[in-house]
């Protein structure tokens, strides 16, 4: 077989720049062979090296009293007491999902689950953040159907409930959808597994599915812009096998009961290459691999193909010496391939052998640590001009029935009913509320989980939008009564080599950081997905936040549904009627201008802490935060969830449409019995939290200032019909 000669052209075709290629030749003191070049190309890809984002990610708050493991491992780890920890991360599978929605989304779910069980955690919940193009774009329905089926197909088979998520539609995603999947697991704090290899001469073991030619160059694909030819990349999308992953999960968790493992790392992007390089690099070791022992699905695979394959459901494990037999027995029981393919060395080099030849011999440090870091130039966006006076529409009361059925506000039931959200029998708050809640198995405590970001805010003002994304995730957790612990982020942006896009990235990251610091809400894991562009058109900046909170006792939990007639409805937080970048302005008045609502982080903290206290003390069981669509949407959702109406009055001194549809932040609607009202107002005043008495839960219509805005039943019909109607369209 002839080995192709490597030249600058080969390097460019692998997505490396001329400078990067020169640096590689310099580091090696020679020209790399094609396998070595392939290894460099994936290790130095944006996806694996974070070369454009790294300097900014370092500015994020990553520490806190409960944080056991911050960013840098497979997933973040946070202490939840009783010797237990929550382990979580979110990751994107955007490009593959656009090309092949079912498999792209399915393998995104599989990949993030491996990140979590690699750490020794049993996955207990899944969440996701999805962005699709305009509802009427010819591809949208195909993509929605495929992505949703793929997420369900994988997660349902794994027996892990998918409990939370968010979905937006916007033409900016027409050519580049976003599929971000989050996994949350629970581990014992004394059994957390890391990827740092230790010791010389220890066996390096491959477990899981056999290696095929699928997914070669997936990491490189995820680091380039899209164009029409991208669909030809379909063969680089991996095919998921949730059955094997379920067995791999059980086998790994069984092995983790013993003390045989030194280090473990899943083979995600860049497969065998990145897993082996990362384990060796973290341990300051070398690693030798003999590819003849790699379980293979296809014949005549080359070293290049095996090192770059992204076949799914595979793990790399460094075992203590002499424990191979014990470990193999477990994998045999579960019918999973187990092969010793190498050993750790003290040379600091990655040496790859195949059929008796050395196919690669590279310094590990060059792969992992010498990857370029770019300080990309950026321009800060000028904040939009203030909106000025907005005239109300002629018939305000007719707007609600339309608004509850807007693409970004309509019910997502059609989606989440395709996910098994009740398996594991611990889902105490199902999808549809502010945050889902799963009980920690066998305990009173529970984990609240939410995903959120408002990309239209991030586009208008990246810094405020970044703050808002974190604040809203934090608010969602507080609204169910949970103490927000930490978050994971999935930073989806366009091409970072464009200063405007880099400016969006920088602004959002600054906002995330400031909000995280102000709210004691650190980031413990995350993922960057850049180059989300098709034919030069970037997506909206979308820093998706996945938040996790802790409920001490799931019996003290709030939900959004109105529960009883005659309860008093109270708004907590301040309302200025901020209509800039609101859905009302966009969908009812056809304007997308103005600044997004500013986020007062001190008010967020004050109001959220207050609400959490009300729930924990058992004073309120009904809470909903105000977000997209403003106060009236929150009230409508509470009514539809509970099957009860309400009668409210808007205060004097502010226009009704601005009061009802403004998207001011740091606000919650709470309900309580009338006798608690006086005490609540006093406590709120003491805490510095503004209160507005809105009215009462009453009847089966929504009445505002004496006008009938529609029956709960007709609102619900409109709210529930939009997505099924879209998907049923011939």
């Amino acid at each position: 077989m002839t080995v192709p000669m490597v030249s600058l052209e080969t390097a460019l075709a692998h997505g490396l720049s001329a400078d990067e290629y020169a640096k590689i030749e310099d580091l090696l003191g020679r020209t790399p062979n094609v396998t070595e070049l392939g290894i460099f190309s994936v290790m130095w890809s944006e996806h694996c090296s974070y070369k454009s984002s790294r300097i900014w990610l370092k500015t994020l708050p990553t520490e806190g009293p409960r944080v056991i493991q911050g960013p840098g491992e497979n997933a973040g780890v946070v202490d939840i007491g009783d010797g237990e920890a929550v382990v979580f991360k979110m990751e994107s599978h955007n490009h593959p999902s656009f090309i092949e929605p079912y498999q792209g989304a399915a393998t995104g779910v599989g990949g993030i689950m491996r990140d979590v069980f690699t750490m020794g955690a049993r996955p207990v919940a899944m969440a996701n953040a999805l962005r699709f193009g305009a509802p009427d774009h010819p591809k949208t329905r195909h993509l929605v159907a495929g992505v949703v089926a793929g997420i369900g197909g994988y997660g349902n088979c794994m027996g892990v409930p998918t409990v939370a998520g968010e979905v937006n539609f916007d033409p900016a995603y027409n050519g580049n959808i976003l599929v971000n999947a989050m996994c949350v697991g629970i581990a014992n704090t004394d059994r957390i597994f890391l990827s740092e290899a230790k010791g010389v001469g220890n066996p390096v073991v491959y477990v899981g599915s056999k290696t095929g030619r699928d997914g070669i160059h997936g990491a490189t694909m995820a680091s380039a812009e899209f164009d029409e030819a991208s669909e030809e990349k379909r063969p680089t999308v991996q095919v998921g096998d949730p059955f094997t992953e379920k067995l791999l999960l059980e086998a790994c968790l069984e092995l983790m009961q013993s003390d045989a493992i030194i280090a473990i790392q899943d083979m995600g992007a860049a497969g065998l290459t990145s897993s082996s390089a990362e384990m060796a690099s973290k341990g300051g070791l070398g690693i030798e691999l003999d590819l003849d022992h790699v379980p293979q699905r296809e014949t005549h695979m080359t070293a290049y193909e095996m090192m770059l394959s992204e076949s799914q459901e595979r793990m790399l494990v460094v075992l203590k010496p002499g424990r191979e037999k014990q470990a193999k027995k477990i994998f045999d029981k579960w019918g999973i391939d187990f092969a010793v393919i190498g050993r750790t060395t003290d040379t600091g080099r990655m040496v790859v052998r195949h059929q008796g030849r050395i196919e690669a011999d590279l310094p590990v440090s060059a792969l992992a640590d010498a990857a370029p870091v770019y300080e990309r130039p950026y321009v800060e966006r000028k904040p939009p001009a203030p909106l000025g006076e907005i005239e109300p529409p002629a018939d305000l009361k007719a707007t609600l029935k339309r608004m509850v059925a807007r693409p970004d506000l309509a019910s997502r039931r059609w989606i989440w009913e395709q996910y098994d959200y009740s398996v594991m029998a611990d889902t105490v708050q199902a999808p549809g509320g502010d945050a889902a809640v799963v009980r920690v198995h066998g305990r009173r405590k529970g984990l609240a989980i939410t995903t959120d970001v408002t990309p239209r805010y991030c586009r208008a003002d990246p810094y405020e939008g970044g703050k808002q994304a974190v604040a809203e995730a934090w608010r969602n957790l507080s609204a169910v009564g949970a103490l927000p612990l930490a978050f994971t982020d999935n930073l989806n942006f366009g091409n970072p080599q464009k200063p405007e896009i880099m400016g969006e990235f920088v602004g959002c990251v600054k906002g995330l950081g400031d909000a995280g610091r102000a709210l004691d809400f650190p980031v413990v894991s995350g993922n960057c997905s850049l180059y989300n562009e098709t034919n030069g058109a970037g997506i909206l900046p979308t820093p998706a936040i996945g938040g996790v909170g802790l409920l001490r006792d799931v019996a003290r939990m709030a939900t959004v549904a109105f529960k009883r007639a005659d309860e008093v409805i109270v708004l907590l937080g301040e309302t200025h009627g901020h209509l800039g970048q609101s859905i009302f302005l966009r969908d009812e008045l056809g304007r997308s201008d103005g600044p997004p609502p500013p986020v007062d982080l001190e008010a967020e903290k004050r109001n959220g802490d207050f609400v959490r206290g009300l729930v924990a003390d058992g004073h309120v069981r009904t809470v909903h935060d105000c977000s997209d669509g403003g106060l009236i949407l929150a009230l409508a959702e509470m009514a539809m969830a509970g099957g009860l109406g309400c009668r409210i009055e808007t205060p004097a001194g502010i226009a009704s449409h601005a009061f009802l549809y403004g998207e001011d932040q740091a606000r919650y609607v709470v309900c309580m019995t009338a006798d608690r009202m006086t005490a609540l107002v006093a406590a709120a005043r003491e805490a510095g939290v503004p209160t507005t008495r809105l009215g009462l839960v009453e009847g089966d219509h929504i009445r505002v200032n004496g006008e009938d805005w529609g029956s709960v039943a007709e609102l619900r019909d409109a709210h529930e019909a939009w997505l099924p109607d879209l998907m049923a369209h011939p």
């Binding site: 197909g153 349902n156 027996g159 949730p242 579960w334 019918g335 029998a425 199902a430």
Partner: protein
């Protein structure tokens, strides 16, 4: 009562079934790995749990029906040992021939997870004796292949023999099942296969409790 839950590769409701059994009986069931060949002699109840045994890569339940342990389970079931098959367990029971018919892909072609209203049609069984005949109950479903099908003659026969234990309430059929069938009994009435998950409706904190009546029925019949 001594019970056991069988674990197939990619069963995923085995723990949920065990928790519900323990809650109802005070005793943890035994967990039987599918590769075992013998079922313990002293079992009062065998549960085939929900999940995606063998990934559902052939027909749902078709591979599991040929797992080593199934030979002894079929033998004991024929001899009268009670068997409860939930969701994938129901599919496995149909594939072994212990129950008639087959579960096809949902008519919507989509997986469906939601609480559904059911009518209890038969109370003359150890699984349903604590219910009232005609009682409407609510239990979640979560499946992609719950569309029960059998030929008309078989359907007439099982209806005539009072073996349709559970039916989806009018308008609540989530999968297109023939005659709204959600669960059926064997001829000796000691085997029940059903698509809904009673083990997910046996804990007030999860919002639904009608499933606990099924476990209470079993405990009453098999103390």
């Amino acid at each position: 009562m001594k019970s056991a839950v069988v674990v197939f590769p990619a069963s995923n409701c085995d723990r949920d079934a065990a928790v519900a059994l323990q809650r109802a009986t005070g005793k943890a069931p035994r967990m039987l790995w599918h590769a075992e060949t013998d079922v313990p002699d002293d079992l009062d109840l065998i549960v085939l749990p929900g999940g995606f045994s063998f990934g559902d890569y052939l027909r749902c339940g078709a591979m599991a029906a040929h797992s080593p342990i199934m030979r002894d389970i079929v033998r004991r079931a024929r001899a009268g040992t009670p068997v409860l098959g939930i969701c994938n367990g129901f599919q496995i029971l149909c594939e072994t021939g212990l129950l008639p018919g087959v579960l096809m892909r949902n008519a919507s072609l989509r997986f469906v997870c939601k609480p559904v209203a059911l009518r209890v049609e038969e109370t003359q069984s150890l699984f349903t004796r604590r219910f009232k005949r005609g009682e409407e109950i609510k239990i979640p479903v979560a499946h992609g292949d719950g569309n029960y099908f059998a030929d008309e003659e078989t359907l007439d026969r099982i209806e005539g023999e009072g073996r349709v234990a559970l039916r989806y309430a009018p308008g609540a059929n989530p999968n297109g099942a023939a005659r709204d069938i959600a669960g059926i009994l064997s001829e000796n009435r000691r085997i029940l296969g059903l698509m809904p998950h009673p083990e997910r409706a046996a804990d007030a904190e999860l919002g639904l409790t009608d499933g606990s009546k099924m476990f209470a029925s079993i405990l009453e019949a098999l103390p």
